[in-house]
């Protein structure tokens, strides 16, 4: 498409002519880079020596020494070669690089540990068994988390069924109707996405258990998750609908369609992949929520196929329970649960990425 619109026809190159390489005159030459390289080597060497001679020891000591020495070395090089401002620039550059590197560390550590500790407990059996006849201290190849997986599926699916219409209607109100209260609604939807998850659970408990005298059910858990999911769906859907050109709407109306027909047959189909992304983002947001489920689904070691009666479990609940038991096998089970949960979350995460990219092109 893009080759047809807006591009000038390219001059064909004469046969045999080599395409000239783009030049980058702003690129530092090796000669300019040399002091930096020398500085870096000095910093590494100096910090190794400092750690070797002084009582500073261990990785932490080495890191701290390395950071401070590299700052000193880099700033003095810049100061000597240029001026004080250049020195400040090198200090800030080094600090910012280190800050960014520190942010990577926990994520890499989390992913590494999930694989290291979660993988040993993985077996085909965990996807076909529940814990109804297995004690959590039983060997890892017995029992499984099928009940939690099914419970999670139920909770999230029901929450999605509730959140899609509400989230979509909210987004349509904000973009299509754009009534007088749109600003207020938008503001409070933003605020709603900051509601602590435990409060959502507490609210459902107050409504369902205290006021209506209900008991723990899967449905109660999914209502709590829906409260957390609606703002995500609504806000993303609003962004997506905003991107649909007004021309399309005007064209629909000019052809004599009612607003309802225009929205249903033009706007929503045009925004379809973005709206699906909005829903998946919502699912990814709530799939790992633990706190509201602790107050609403009750927990179960066996399968419960009925979402409207009886306790149920969910993956986060399973992790929570096994973590709380604290024995060695229970904790191994918790890590395996985390592994499975992260795989599920990552699947949704990747889906949003793929759909989001498709929309961009």
């Amino acid at each position: 498409m893009s080759t047809l619109i807006g591009n000038k026809p390219q001059q064909p190159l004469p046969d045999g002519a080599a395409i000239p390489k783009p030049i980058k005159p702003w690129k530092p030459t090796p000669k300019q880079l040399l002091p930096d390289l020398l500085g870096a080597i000095t910093a590494v060497a100096a910090s190794l020596i400092v750690v070797a001679v002084t009582p500073l020891a261990g990785g932490l000591g080495l890191l701290a020494t390395f950071i401070s020495i590299s700052i000193v070395v880099a700033s003095s090089i810049s100061w000597i070669r240029q001026d004080r401002k250049a020195a400040a620039n090198s200090v800030s550059t080094i600090v910012i690089y280190f800050l960014a590197a520190f942010v990577l560390l926990p994520v890499l550590s989390i992913i590494f540990e999930i694989i290291r500790k979660g993988a040993p407990g993985l077996s085909l059996g965990i996807f076909f068994n529940d814990m109804s006849v297995t004690s959590s201290d039983a060997p890892l190849n017995e029992g499984g988390l099928l009940h939690a997986l099914v419970g999670s599926l139920y909770v999230v699916a029901l929450a999605t069924v509730v959140s899609i219409p509400i989230g979509l209607l909210t987004a349509l109100y904000l973009t299509e109707v754009n009534g007088k209260a749109a600003g207020v609604v938008r503001f409070f939807v933003q605020a709603m996405s900051g509601v602590p998850s435990i409060v959502a659970g507490l609210f459902i408990y107050a409504v369902w258990m205290i006021s209506f005298g209900g008991t723990y059910t899967t449905a109660a858990g999914s209502m709590a998750l829906a409260i957390l999911m609606i703002p995500t769906v609504a806000r993303t859907a609003e962004e997506v609908l905003k991107l649909i050109p007004t021309d399309l709407r005007e064209a629909g109306l000019a052809l004599g369609a009612t607003q309802w027909k225009t929205v249903a047959l033009v706007v929503i189909p045009a925004a379809r992949s973005g709206l699906i992304t909005a829903v998946i983002l919502g699912v990814a947001r709530v799939a790992g929520e633990t706190a509201p489920l602790l107050l609403t689904v009750g927990g179960n070691d066996a399968m419960n196929w009925n979402p409207f009666s009886g306790n149920n479990s969910a993956l986060p609940f399973y992790i929570w329970k096994n973590f709380g038991l604290g024995t060695e096998t229970a904790i191994a089970r918790a890590w395996t649960g985390i592994f499975v949960l992260m795989v599920v979350v990552m699947i949704f995460f990747t889906l949003t990425r793929i759909l989001g990219n498709k929309k961009g092109k």
Binding site: L60, K85, A88, N89, S92, V95, L99, A100, V103, V107, L108, S109, I110, E113, I114, K117, P165, I166, L168, L169, T170, Y173, V177, G179, A181, V185, F187, F188, Q190, A191, M192, S193, G194, V195, P196, S197, I198, V199, L202, F203, A206, V207, I210, I227, T258, Q259, W260, G288, E289, T290, A291, L294, P316, I319, W320, F323, I338, L341, M342, F349
Partner: protein, 328 residues
């Protein structure tokens, strides 16, 4: 024209009134969509109503001491104790761990946002953005379990070091040798959890910095850091502060991750390295399991306080961000 050509004519056509009469189907459509749009508002209202209604008795009997006193004693007939509920220590603890989280998380997030916007080469930028997004998608229970088993042993060592060299400052002092499960460690976990929010809002803000001012700064010979100090930071200050407040809102309401790494103690301790802290959200999870009916009401009241505090923080944060970023 016609008037000047025919001066005799006094007839000036009135402008036609332009109205649209929505058809019936559109009236239904707009009605349904509008009422759907208000559901979020209604839900927010219902949350505060139900929590307030259930917690009202506790608010009335405890009065202001509900948020100032430290003891959480449910009524017990065997021991003959009278019920007394106060979340003062928990509220204080929540603030302490959230600010520790902000103290560590904000510089890291701010630096990362600057790095991604102005320093990173393209080939680092893309995977790094992906990593920060993955960070936002990690469920809090995962942060909690990881924090307990992996971070805690390291953080304990760091806490020992801080205590060794800065122990003369009261907040870093240590009456015994209890370095595990401290507010310091809970704050570190929260810091990691709020980094993605602050980073993405800050990046959004930085992306709005007018390019001509950036280029003007460079043209005047500014180094990258001088440009950031002279253009980016003044322009994006408000938005970045709003992002930090959103992070604070998340930290205040975080439950599971904090509960797994923090030792709840119903007392206000100034030492942040000591294994004693508080968190309103964790209190709810902690007491919920074995709470009797009146204690549940007290938990509802605690939930109401938490809801109001986080809602206020979020509203202010969004107000600041909307003013600086999402103009128009």
């Amino acid at each position: 024209m016609s008037i000047t050509e025919n001066p005799a004519s006094t007839h000036v056509p009135k402008p036609r009134e332009i109205t649209t009469e929505p058809r019936f189907s559109d009236r239904v459509f707009r009605g349904v969509v509008s009422s759907g749009g208000f559901i979020s508002l209604i839900v927010l209202g219902l949350i505060s109503l139900f929590l307030l209604y259930n917690g009202f008795g506790v608010f009335r009997s405890e009065g202001l001491s509900f948020v100032t006193s430290f003891d959480w004693v449910p009524e017990s007939i065997e021991n003959g104790t009278e019920a007394s509920y106060g979340i003062g220590a928990m509220l204080y603890g929540t603030l302490v761990i959230s600010f520790i989280g902000l103290f560590f998380g904000f510089p890291l997030a701010f630096g990362t946002a600057l790095f991604l916007s102005y320093y990173a080469p393209e080939w680092i930028k893309k995977p790094m953005v992906l990593v920060v997004d993955i960070m936002a998608a990690i469920p809090s229970i995962v942060f909690g379990v990881w924090g307990y088993f992996i971070l805690m042993p390291h953080a304990e060592e760091w806490a020992r070091l801080i205590n060794k060299y800065l122990g003369f400052i009261p907040i870093f002092s240590m009456p015994g040798d209890f370095f595990t499960r401290s507010p310091f460690i809970a704050g570190l976990v929260l810091a990691i959890m709020i980094i993605p929010i602050i980073t993405s809002i800050s990046r959004e803000v930085f992306a709005q910095t007018p390019l001509d001012r950036i280029q003007a700064a460079y043209a005047l010979g500014a180094t990258r850091w001088s440009m950031i100090r002279a253009v980016v930071i003044p322009y994006g200050k408000g938005g970045v502060i709003g992002g930090a407040m959103l992070g604070l809102g998340r930290a205040l309401g975080e439950t599971v991750a904090v509960y797994t790494v923090l030792n709840l103690v119903y007392d206000i301790r100034p030492e942040i390295l000591l294994s004693a802290g508080g968190s309103v959200a964790s209190l709810i999870v902690n007491k919920f399991g074995e709470a009797n009916a009146p204690e549940l009401k007290a938990l509802m009241a605690a939930g109401f306080v938490l809801f109001v505090v986080t809602l206020l923080v979020n509203l202010i944060a969004n107000m600041i961000i909307n003013r600086t970023v999402r103009k128009g």
